[in-house]
């Protein structure tokens, strides 16, 4: 409770929390407020915003409800962003822990693999992966995770390298604990805080990557995505700029919200650790 109050005292954290709350509310209420297919035609094409109150944000080139698309797009962005970031953090933490704890040849091999992944730009990797395997929600999640797990892996490894020299790890060996249990039950949980501190940046990057993939037409074709909406609106950018601007703003606010809330969390926990 005290931590929550301290968290809410920083203005960035409050702003970020509000933005994220709105985003989550949109994602969760999408199918309640806009039941049915958001990609179905709802009215005349290219209706500008604020003209017809049953279609507040107007319609796109095909007459689809922009507000409905925006809500359903929030869902995709959030789902892909969170899933990809979670996958990247899990892979990174496991690889980093194994490398740091095992040392020797295992460390060498795992870190060379990490290097290899890191030298290829994450976005190109995602692009290549989706092009080869074919666009679907799961593939997009894996594609994004492939390009982002290396950061968490390096941080986890560095942390594990220092933790494994501590007395309590020697103590765990002395009582006969198996190496894998020591690595994952004793060491990994204590190596997590700095890894988790990266999560807001990773979620934000994952959301942007998803949007970029969708913009290039490599998103799941059965889902509305903000990136796809922006790409869609590009064709009529001069006559109906709002079609690109609305999802663009949503994207910017989302990334900002994730980032600010993440910074707030890191700051409050850092303050807490500084005090104790």
């Amino acid at each position: 409770m005290r931590r929550l109050r301290r968290f809410l005292r920083t203005p960035e954290a409050v702003a970020g929390t509000i933005l994220l709350t709105v985003l989550f509310a949109m994602a969760l209420s999408a199918s309640l407020l806009f039941p049915g297919d958001p990609q179905a035609i709802a009215g005349p094409a290219l209706l500008p915003p604020f003209q017809d109150w049953s279609l507040p944000l107007g319609t796109d080139r095909l007459g689809r409800d922009v507000l409905a698309e925006l809500f359903h797009g929030a869902r995709t962005s959030l789902a892909v962003g969170l899933a990809a970031a979670a996958a990247a953090l899990v892979i990174g933490a496991v690889v980093g822990t194994l490398a740091g704890f095992a040392g020797g040849l295992v460390d060498e091999v795992l870190m060379r693999i990490t290097d290899a992944f890191q030298t290829v730009p994450g976005f190109l990797l995602a692009l290549a992966f989706v092009s080869v395997v074919g666009p679907s929600l799961g593939v997009v999640v894996v594609a994004i995770a492939l390009g982002t797990w290396t950061g968490p892996a390096r941080i986890a490894r560095a942390e594990v390298l220092s933790i494994r020299e501590r007395d309590y790890v020697a103590g765990a060996r002395v009582i006969g604990m198996r190496p894998l249990e020591i690595a994952f039950r004793e060491v990994l949980p204590n190596a997590l805080p700095p890894v988790l501190a990266m999560s807001s940046v990773i979620v934000a990057a994952a959301i942007l990557t998803e949007a970029a993939l969708s913009f290039l037409g490599l998103g799941d074709p059965n889902r509305v995505t903000w990136g796809g909406m922006i790409a869609e609106g590009r064709a009529v950018l001069r006559t109906a700029p709002f079609l690109s601007i609305v999802p663009g703003i949503a994207l910017v606010l989302t990334v900002l919200g994730v980032y600010l809330a993440g910074e707030g969390i890191v700051e409050t926990t850092a303050v807490r650790r500084g005090l104790s």
């Binding site: 501590r166 007395d167 309590y168 020697a170 103590g171 002395v174 009582i175 198996r178 204590n190």
Partner: protein
């Protein structure tokens, strides 16, 4: 028969191109139920010997025999199983436990790993262990960082005796404690030794403490044995230069608990 026999143990570290023998051709033995103290100035290799004996690091030469077996030949599961008989208590009881652990978990681990008691029986065993080291059983759910340093060292001792070891290595196990707490912990160790016939390899730089608990003592200097013998004889009239320096540096040699006998 000896419980632990260490012969010609060698451990070298390389530092800045030069190699330094942290443990240089050291031999000694420990008999069942006795306390052998290892003393010596800082950097003389005491902790390195403790880590070697516990197989936390591997020696560059020599033999270690424990309970009649070649201890250095044990690997993997066989080594882990044998660890039940050879335990350790660290200097800093806070650093010796996972910062997220509770008292119950710290004591549950050895019981579970060595199959000492079933899942349903373990809470009762944990309570009994806590009582054995003079702690209340209701301490079990507390986090390790929420109890006092003295209580923590008692928990460390409870964890060490959970698997009924024949030898416990104590590396400066009382050095971080207040003087009053130190006396209580030393008495607890003496009680346990009397009742369970546990042998101690007792590492300390405090000759007062050594004289109070140890039967025999070995004095180290730069990785080598400088002097060894009956604890009170050696401390009463040290022959080596290191021994004389250590005795001279000891504040008052008669401030600890009653002597072991």
């Amino acid at each position: 028969m000896n419980l632990l026999t260490v012969s010609n143990l060698i451990k070298r570290y390389s530092r800045g191109g030069k190699t330094l023998a942290a443990v240089d051709d050291v031999s000694f033995h420990v008999e069942p139920g006795e306390t052998l103290a290892l003393a010596g100035p800082s950097g003389s290799g005491k902790s390195t010997i403790a880590r070697l004996v516990l197989r936390l690091i591997e020696p560059d030469g020599g033999r270690i025999e424990f309970e009649g077996d070649n201890f250095l030949a044990l690997r993997g599961a066989a080594l882990r199983a044998r660890r039940a008989r050879l335990q350790m208590v660290f200097q800093d009881p806070l650093a010796a436990f996972n910062p997220r652990a509770t008292v119950a978990r710290v004591l549950d681990d050895p019981l579970r790993i060595h199959g000492v008691a079933s899942r349903f029986e373990r809470p009762r065993r944990i309570a009994a262990l806590l009582e054995r080291v003079g702690l209340a059983a209701d301490l079990a759910p507390r986090a390790i960082h929420e109890i006092s340093g003295g209580q923590r060292q008692r928990v460390a001792i409870a964890r060490a005796i959970a698997t009924k070891p024949s030898l416990i290595v104590l590396d400066e196990a009382v050095s971080a404690l207040d003087v009053s707490v130190r006396g209580q912990i030393l008495n607890l160790l003496l009680d346990l030794q009397r009742e369970e016939r546990i042998a101690y390899l007792f590492i300390s730089h405090d000759l007062g403490v050594v004289r109070a608990v140890a039967h025999r003592v070995i004095l180290f200097d730069a990785g080598r044995i400088a002097e060894n013998g009956d604890a009170r004889t050696v401390i009463g009239a040290p022959q080596s230069a290191v021994g004389q320096a250590l005795v001279a540096a000891a504040p008052r040699l008669h401030t600890t608990t009653q002597d072991a006998s």
